[in-house]
């Protein structure tokens, strides 16, 4: 455990401990009332979900085309985080939608593409767990295709139907709402970086232990 990690973990813990007060201090939204405040956790986790998907795609590219075997550990770490933050996003979203739209789920572009991306990464985890030997490369192929697929899912569902508030609301938010929002984005980013590094480190070490076992057997 490096010192930078300890510092980051302490900082993240502090930020998440303060976050409820920050969110509490944010003003009421006239039409939606209290329930809109879930947005302060929903949006950052959705951003981290997408970031994780991009990290997984880039790491897959490095593994498959640049032949960097260690990149596989980053694919695994990022894919697991995509599932974690994706699940968080997909749980907090419907909680808000039930109040704002009156239904838990609508077949909107963002919702559907998030769900599909989430499913692709769940498929990745299933493949890793049950695919047997050699599934790391298959998983990298899957993650790469998943990343390339996002715009297609988005355009197709967007043309099909759209309800979700556009991301362009973010710069137009009043400052009193913007500050807690960006605070939460920072906290989530920090958490994401910590988890990603820890998970990738675990994979590096697992690979090293395996290599040592193999060396032992040969000796």
């Amino acid at each position: 455990m490096t010192r930078s990690m300890v510092v980051m973990m302490a900082l993240a813990a502090g930020m998440f401990a303060v976050a409820p007060w920050m969110i509490d201090a944010a003003p009421y939204e006239a039409t939606m009332g209290l329930v809109y405040k879930i947005y302060f956790f929903h949006m950052p986790s959705a951003w981290m979900f997408l970031t994780a998907a991009i990290v997984a795609g880039v790491a897959s590219f490095r593994l498959l085309f640049l032949k960097r075997p260690r990149a596989e550990h980053w694919v695994t770490a990022a894919a697991e985080l995509a599932v974690v933050f994706g699940a968080f996003t997909l749980v907090t979203g419907p909680l808000w939608a039930r109040k704002a739209w009156g239904v838990w789920w609508v077949w909107d572009a963002r919702l559907t593409s998030s769900l599909m991306l989430f499913m692709i990464f769940v498929a990745y985890l299933l493949l890793k767990k049950y695919g047997g030997p050699g599934s790391d490369k298959l998983g990298a192929g899957l993650a790469l295709f998943g990343m390339a697929n996002v715009p297609f899912i988005y355009v197709s569902v967007n043309y099909w139907r759209t309800f979700h508030p556009p991301t362009s609301v973010v710069p137009t938010l009043p400052v009193a709402m913007g500050i807690p929002l960006w605070y939460c984005v920072m906290a989530f980013t920090l958490l994401f970086v910590i988890l990603l590094r820890l998970r990738a480190r675990l994979e590096h070490q697992r690979a090293r232990v395996e290599a040592l076992y193999l060396a032992e057997d040969e000796a």
Partner: protein, 227 residues
């Protein structure tokens, strides 16, 4: 004929020869597709009348299901006889092997669709003959997109455990755009007054999907199939 095209041709010819001798995959897949259409019809036809747009949806679900089956069987055959290893050992361009396999699957699915589309027209009173050309383009582009991703994934999964269940798990989320574009485009054609503009939008989306994923698959096939 250059080397690439020759290898593609050899792979297609090999698959065709094996298939023509037994007709195993074609006959089972075709019967399966018909069964899927009937199963969905029982669920979605109410009081003797189909729900809105149901014909288009059933057509594409049947294509996806039977496509998965055909992909799985085609590569199971290669695995069973350990011939995929021989193919990969051959001094041939890996992308050419992929294209050969893809064309074989496309041919198979094309034959299945030749039965499937008229069947849908017959059972749901859909204007498949009047809209033959745009329908052909939509089904062709959609099948290419589905098979391009499917061939790569099925080839990747040949050596994996639980490949039968992993193939659809990986393939269906990935081909959601094909399903949406195919169903919406076909539904636009099956309306009482067909909407050519909407069908064309979906066709162009499918074409873009095909281009991106065929290139990506050609590119990925080599590294993922190398041990």
């Amino acid at each position: 004929m250059n080397a690439f095209a020759r290898i593609v041709w050899f792979v297609v010819k090999k698959d065709l020869t094996v298939e023509v001798r037994s007709l195993e995959i074609l006959s089972t897949t075709m019967f399966f597709a018909v069964t899927v259409v009937l199963m969905f019809s029982f669920g979605l036809v109410v009081d003797g009348r189909p729900l809105n747009d149901v014909a288009a949806a059933i057509l594409w679900v049947a294509i996806a299901f039977s496509g998965t089956l055909a992909l799985g069987r085609t590569f199971e055959r290669e695995r069973h006889n350990d011939t995929l290893r021989a193919l990969l050992l051959a001094p041939a361009d890996r992308p050419a092997l992929y294209v050969g396999k893809l064309l074989g699957i496309l041919l198979l699915l094309g034959l299945v669709e030749l039965v499937l589309v008229p069947l849908i027209g017959l059972l749901f009173n859909a204007p498949v003959i009047q809209q033959a050309v745009p329908l052909l383009l939509l089904v062709g582009a959609g099948t290419l997109g589905f098979a391009a991703v499917g061939t790569l994934f099925a080839a990747m999964l040949v050596r994996a455990r639980s490949r039968d269940v992993l193939l659809p798990i990986m393939l269906y989320p990935m081909t959601v755009p094909v399903m949406i574009a195919g169903v919406r485009g076909t539904a636009a054609l099956f309306q009482p007054t067909p909407d050519a503009a909407i069908a064309q939008f979906w066709l162009s989306l499918l074409a873009a999907f095909d281009v991106v994923f065929v290139i990506l698959a050609l590119w990925t096939f080599e590294p993922v199939m190398t041990d």
